[in-house]
Symmetry: C2
Subunit: 494 residues, 2 copies
Amino acid sequence: MEAALCNLKDPLIDHTEGQCFLDEAIKIIVEEVLCKGTDVKQKVCEWKEPNELALLLDLELRESGEQQERLLQRVRDVAKYSIKTSHPRFFNQQFAGVDYHSLAGRFLTEALNTNLFTYEVAPVFVLMEMEVLRSLRQLVGWTEGDGIFCPGGSTSNMYAMNLARYRLHPEVKSQGLWALPRLAIFTSPESHYSVKKGAAFLGFGTDNVILVKVDERGHMIPEDLDEKIELLKSQGVIPCFVSCTAGTTVRGAFDPLDRIADVCDKHKLWLHVDAAWGGSVLFSKQHRHLMKGVERANSVAWNPHKMLVAGLQCSALLLKDTTNLLKRCHSSSASYLFQQDKFYDVNLDVGDKSVQCSRKVDCLKLWLMWKAVGSSGLEERVDKAFILVRYLVAQMKKRDGFHLVCEPEFVNVCFWFIPPSLRGKEGNADYQNKLAKVAPTIKERMMKQGTLMVGYQPLGDMVNFFRVTVFSPLVSFKDMDFFLDEIERLGSDL
Amino acid sequence: MEAALCNLKDPLIDHTEGQCFLDEAIKIIVEEVLCKGTDVKQKVCEWKEPNELALLLDLELRESGEQQERLLQRVRDVAKYSIKTSHPRFFNQQFAGVDYHSLAGRFLTEALNTNLFTYEVAPVFVLMEMEVLRSLRQLVGWTEGDGIFCPGGSTSNMYAMNLARYRLHPEVKSQGLWALPRLAIFTSPESHYSVKKGAAFLGFGTDNVILVKVDERGHMIPEDLDEKIELLKSQGVIPCFVSCTAGTTVRGAFDPLDRIADVCDKHKLWLHVDAAWGGSVLFSKQHRHLMKGVERANSVAWNPHKMLVAGLQCSALLLKDTTNLLKRCHSSSASYLFQQDKFYDVNLDVGDKSVQCSRKVDCLKLWLMWKAVGSSGLEERVDKAFILVRYLVAQMKKRDGFHLVCEPEFVNVCFWFIPPSLRGKEGNADYQNKLAKVAPTIKERMMKQGTLMVGYQPLGDMVNFFRVTVFSPLVSFKDMDFFLDEIERLGSDL
Ligand SMILES: Cc1ncc(COP(=O)(O)O)c(C=O)c1O
Ligand SMILES: Cc1ncc(COP(=O)(O)O)c(C=O)c1O
C-alpha cells in the first residue's frame, strides 16, 4: 500500500481528468439515451438473454481499475442494453418519457449531493420542498397541512398507515402493537399491492387488510365498506384506516371519494387517498372531478414520478394535519443531527419527520419542471393524455380483434387482443385458456424485436389482457396508430 | 384549453430545445458545483437567513411557465445558495467529496430513468445489482447469500429487523404482531437512531429496544448483552434481534463482533451489523480487522454513499441467508408486475424482495466507480483517510485548546475546542456550561463566514463537542492544517 500512497499530499482525485471523463460520458448519454433512445427509428429495447447479457457487460469487479476509454465503452454498453423508457413506444409501466427541465434538475441534485434533513446542509431544498408540498396541497384543496417526499408511493402509503394508528393510539410508538387492540385496514382488491406490503412491514399483518368489494369497473363500493366496518367492530377489531385509490394501477379506476368520506366520517376513520397514479388529474380543470371529495381525506399519496414525468423517485405524502403529527409520530430527536441549540429556527430541520435519516432531494426536479411549464403546462399534458386515450379507444373500436376490458376512466386502456384464430370462438371451452396465452406470446415477440413495450396481467377472473398507459409528453396520434398496427402485426398468425 | 392543445399532432416536448437547455444547465453545474464548489478559495456555504433565502429564490409555483434564460438563472441560484458538500472544507456529515465516475453513473441512471423491479425494464441493472451485492458479500466473507439496495441505511436496518422476526415467526406477515409474544431488540446507546425509528415504524415499539451498556470508548459490552437477554427471557419477552454497530455515528466505535456473535450463537439470535458508516474498512487489508467476526452475522447494512463517496442514495443490505428469506418475507406476488408466465426466468424479477414498488437504481454509480479505480483504489482511499486522521490527531495534540473526547478508532475525530478564556478552568463550577456553548458559537461563525462546516453534538454526560469526519478523496494534509487553524481563529476570542 505505501507505494500507492506516495502522493499523500495531494487529493486522490484530479478534477480536470474527472471533468473530462464526465464530459465524454455526458456526450454518450445524450447520444444514446436522449437522441437514439427517443427515436422511433431505433429500438425501444435490445433484448438479450440474461447469460448473454452478463457476458457482454463483463460485470465483475476487480482489484485494479480500468482505463478511461474502456470505462466510456461501459457507459455506452449500459445505455445500449438498457430499456429506453423515454422512447415513444414504451408503454410498459406508469413512468415513461422525459422532461428536459426535470432532467436538468436531477443532474443538479446529483451534483449537489445533499441530504434533506437539516437546514444547515440543505437550505435551498428545505424551503423548496415546503413550497412544492404547499402547492400540491393547494391542488388537493388544503390551505394548511403538512407533508414529506418519500422514496416512492409504497413508502408514502406506509407513512399514512403509521400516522393513522399513531393518532388513534400514540402509545404504539413506545409500546408497540402488543399494547393495542387488533386494528384493521380497509382497501379494495384493485388497490396497489403496497397496502398489503405495508401492512405486513408495519406489523399489522395482511389478514388485517380487509378487502372491500368493487363494482364491475373496479370502484370501491361504499356500502360494502360500511358493512365490513360494522362487521369488524362486532368482532372486537378496531377499524383504523381506509385506503382509497385514485387511479388504480391496472384499470385506472377512481374510488368514489365523497361517498367513502361519508363512511369514514361516520366511523371516525382515517381516510387515505392513494393517488400515486391518478393524483395528477388535479392539475386539470376538466378532469379533476375524478377526485371529487379528496379534500375530505386525511392524507394523500401522489407520485409526480409517474404521470408528471418528473423522474424516479418523486413521491409526495400530503397531510391535512396541522398538529405536527408527522414529526411527533416519527421523531427520535437524535442529538448529533437535530441539536436544539442551533443558531437558526430548528423547525426547519425537517428530517425528524421522516423514518429515514439520509433522504434524497426529490423536489428540485419537480420544481424546475413546474417553473418551466407552469401549472398550465402540466394541465395541458394531463388533458392531452386523456385526448390520446380517447383516440386510441376510438381506433380500437374500429378494428377487429381489440376487445376492451372496460371503458377507460383514466389513461390506462385495458384490452384483449383476440387473434384471428380465436375470433368468433368465444363459446369454445378452451377459449379463455387460449386467450390467456396470447398476451405473453405477443409480449415475447415485441421484446425480442424491440419494437414496442406494453404490459399485461390477469385480474380476478379475467385472463391476461394488455394494459397500455398513455401520458408521456413525447407521444402523439401516430404513436397510437403504430401501437395498434404493431399489436396486430405481432399477433396476426396467432 | 383547446387553443393550447392546437398542436396535438406533435409531442409536447421539443428535443432540440430541451437538449439545448440541458447543455446550458450542465455548464452551470460544472462551473458552480464542480469547479467553484470544490475550490478552497470559494465558500463552502453562502449563508442566508431562511426568509431572505426564500425571497431570493422566488420559490412560488405559478400558472405560467418561464423563459429559458430565467430558468438557467434559477439553476445558478440553486447551486449558489446550496451547501457545497464536495468542498474540501465540508466535514459536517458522513458524506462529502465527489467522484466523477460515480457522478457519471448517476447522470446515466437519471437519464435512463428505470426501475429495479423486473428484468424486462431493467435487464442491465438487475444483473449489475446482483454482481455488486456479490462483491460486497465477498468482502464480508460470504460466498453465497442474498441482498438488496435500499433507500438508505435506516431502511436497510428496518429490513433486517423485519427479516429477523419473520424467520422466528413467519405468521407475523399475515397475522401481525398480535399473534406473537413480545419481542425485544438489543443495541447500544451509541447505535444509530434508525434502530429506534425502525422499531417504532415496524410496530415493535421503542420500549422494546433494550440498550446494552458500552465501555468508555463506546463499544457494546457483550457480557451486559448476555445479562440483558437473560433478564428479558425471565420476564417472558422473546429476544429477537441484536444490532451491533461497525463504526458508530458519533465516535466511530466498532462493537466487538466476534464476542457478540458468541452471545448471539448461545441464544440463537439474529445478529445484524449496522456497518452503514464503517463497512468500507472491509476494503482495507490494514483496517478490516476492525470488523473481525462480521462473517458470523446474519445481515450487514453498508452505505457506500457515506465513506466510499458513491453519492446519495446508496445503501446495501447484505444477507447470509440462502433460503430466499428476503423474498418470502416481503413478496406479495402482484400479478400486474410479477407475472409467472413470462418468457424469461422470473427469478430475475427481484422487485418482490423489496417493500418498495418503484425502486431507484443505486448500483450503477458504485459499479462504475469501482470499475474505474478497482478494489485497490477504494482500499487506498480508506487507508488514506486513516492516515489523515492520525495526522489531524497528532497536530491537535501539539496545539493548546484541542481536547480529544477519546482516541479515534475510525475516521471520526471527536474533540472539544477549549477557548483561551476556559483553559485551565476545568475546576470551575460553570466550566461545563460554558464549554457547551463554545461549539454552537463557533459553528454559527463558520457558517456565516462560509469557511468551514463541521458538526457538533453532546453525548451522554458529555457537553457539546465537535465531530469531524475525514474521508473525502479531495482532502489532504493542508486541509487538516486549515481545519485546526480555522477553529482556532473562530474561537480565539471566546
Ligand atoms: C395506485 C398505486 N399506488 C401506489 C403505487 C406505488 O408507488 P411506487 O411505485 O412509487 O412505490 C403504485 C405504483 O405502481 C400505484 O399504481
Ligand atoms: C451507524 C449508522 N447507521 C445507520 C445510518 C443511517 O443511514 P442512512 O442515513 O443512509 O439512513 C447512519 C447514518 O448516519 C449511521 O451512521
